[in-house]
């Protein structure tokens, strides 16, 4: 009955949706790194435009992207206020009682907000909005697979992620069911002192843990029955193939980073 979707994946078939998840992870990292290269107002402008282009290419409705930014609105506001009121610079704009606002403060505030937005939008466009959690896990496993040489449990880590993704909605549903069952026996989770409320959680937590262990047990047996023996000798149904689009996108992001550096150096003014 419950309709919990994990993450923010937005189904679609845009260029970004179709990219190889391994490339998308690398692209996201490169793009975020590029955002830190911005030094003046022109490179920041280029960055802002690139973020808009990404959103357009992903064909994800702008309203959805904005909604994704809502949780960090507070952090952004906080940054803005802090920077505007506390940054000391040379160009004084406003002086009133103890408040002094400098141009540098405003510029820093704008650049911080832009940077945070780009990081969120960038990871969103390359990863969370356009890549299913399972493809993401798959991408991570394969990107990290060279580390197996050093006996790092890369496969096991990916398997854990997959199982977590599979079972989190189930456990949320289960929690709701247990809460309903105990409410039917007169449990009260919302009134009383903090201690009373903490105590009221026991009738939920005990059955939840019992059930989680039972599920884990049954799942382990079912996996063994399906010949699971760890990552060794395992093949995969879907083989990831890098396409021309993946390489082109990679080249584009690298070029973008390089051009930011050039803009910093050759376009004068408003250094931040």
């Amino acid at each position: 009955m419950s309709s919990i979707t994990l993450g923010q994946y937005f189904p679609g078939n845009s260029l970004l949706h179709r990219l190889d998840p391994r490339f998308k992870i690398v692209l996201a990292i490169l793009y975020i790194t590029a955002s830190f290269l911005c030094k003046n107002i022109w490179s920041f402008a280029a960055l802002a435009i690139s973020a808009v282009v990404l959103v357009l290419v992903s064909r994800i409705p702008v309203s959805i992207v904005l909604r994704g930014l809502r949780p960090i609105l507070f952090i952004m506001l906080f940054t803005v206020v802090l920077n505007i009121f506390l940054t000391r610079g040379e160009t004084l704009l406003v002086e009133f009682w103890v408040i002094r606002i400098y141009l540098e403060g405003i510029l820093t505030a704008v650049s911080m907000v832009l940077r945070i937005t780009v990081i969120i939008v960038g990871t969103g466009m390359f990863l969370t909005y356009t890549t299913t959690p399972i493809a993401l896990t798959d991408g991570i496993e394969r990107l990290l697979s060279p580390l197996k040489v050093f006996h790092l449990p890369v496969h096991e880590f990916a398997m854990m992620m997959t199982i977590a993704l599979r079972f989190i909605p189930l456990l949320i549903e289960e929690t709701e069911k247990i809460m309903a069952a105990q409410k039917a026996r007169g449990a009260d989770f919302s009134t009383g002192s903090l201690l009373q409320r903490a105590k009221a959680l026991i009738p939920i937590l005990v059955p939840l843990f019992v059930s989680a262990f039972r599920r884990a047990d049954e799942l382990a047996v079912a996996m063994e029955c399906r010949c699971y023996r760890g990552g060794e000798g395992r093949t995969r149904m879907t083989v990831l193939h890098a396409t021309a689009a993946d390489w082109l996108m990679l080249a584009a992001v690298i070029l973008f980073g390089a051009s930011l550096v050039l803009i910093n150096r050759f376009a004068p003014g408003f250094t931040l």
Partner: protein, 286 residues
């Protein structure tokens, strides 16, 4: 007494989101006090949502739930008290056990009601007897019981609140025939003693035919049929169309009638079939 009425009930899950789903759509029905009513329907037909409306776990999006003529949401702050009057045993209730002993677990509901320790103890013993929990079992950990015993302990936990209406969602699911009979027998004993109304949700048409006076059939969030077992089970095609069935014995009787044997329409238990055939074929007894 203990009559429940639903008036134009609709219930939406995740209202206002892309996942909005209408679990109940304009359902009106009456469950008469003192009856055993069966609730049947395919998965996702709205049965579970409906039972959670009866004891105020869900609040209807539209419409009213009346208990003895009074809207149960008239005073939302007192909804907890309604849950003691309408006891709900959820599906697989054994997974809600949490106390150290069976006794303490059965006592959880009565304690929440604020009863005196003596009263709680008396109710635990009474409920345990209904559910077939022996006195030795009361001091065991609920997690050491067998599957069927756990289920009975959980049901006792609701019976101990002495609800006027006892609602059970699939009380016998996954149990063997004996376990099933023990549970359904215990419910019958509770009803006979307390005179309460009983509502059972089940996928087993055979169990429904044996234990229920009235049946409510849900399909695709709507009330599909309501009536006696006789009335409902005389519509096999309609039931099949909504993913349900009639008891096996009813199908035998239908086949025999089709071949031309003079049998009554209303056969839904083996005993009825045997009696009718004995009359027809002139056997001894019955």
């Amino acid at each position: 007494m203990n009559t429940l009425q639903l008036e134009h009930i609709s219930y939406l899950y995740s209202a206002g989101t892309p996942y909005e789903m209408r679990a109940l759509d304009n359902v009106s029905l009456t469950i008469r006090g003192g009856t055993v009513t069966g609730l049947i329907g395919h998965t996702g037909s709205g049965k579970s949502t409906l039972v959670q409306l009866l004891n105020g776990l869900n609040r209807p999006t539209e419409g009213r739930v009346l208990m003895d003529g009074v809207d149960i949401w008239e005073k939302p702050k007192e909804i907890a008290r309604l849950r003691y009057r309408v006891g709900l045993v959820m599906q697989y209730p054994e997974y809600q056990l949490f106390e150290e002993t069976v006794r303490a677990d059965i006592a959880y509901g009565p304690k929440n009601m604020g009863l005196s320790p003596e009263e709680v103890e008396a109710r635990v013993l009474e409920a345990a007897a209904f559910a077939g929990i022996s006195p030795e079992m009361l001091d065991q950990s609920p997690f050491d019981l067998s599957g069927g015993q756990k289920r009975r302990a959980a049901i006792a936990g609701i019976m101990a609140m002495r609800p006027e209406v006892l609602v059970l969602d699939e009380p016998a699911a996954g149990l063997d025939p004996q376990g099933r009979d023990e549970i359904l027998g215990g419910i019958r004993a509770y009803r006979e003693k307390s005179g309460s109304t009983v509502i059972i949700v089940s996928h087993s048409m055979e169990d429904m035919a044996r234990y229920c006076d009235e049946l409510i059939v849900m399909a695709d969030a709507k009330l599909f049929m309501q009536g006696s077992c006789e009335e409902i089970f005389s519509h096999p095609e309609e039931l099949a169309a909504v993913g349900l069935d009639v008891p096996q014995i009813t199908r035998v009787a239908q086949l025999l009638r089709k071949r031309g044997l003079a049998l009554p329409e209303s056969i839904y238990t083996v005993e009825q079939a045997a009696a009718a055939l004995c009359r027809l074929m002139g056997g001894e007894g019955e």
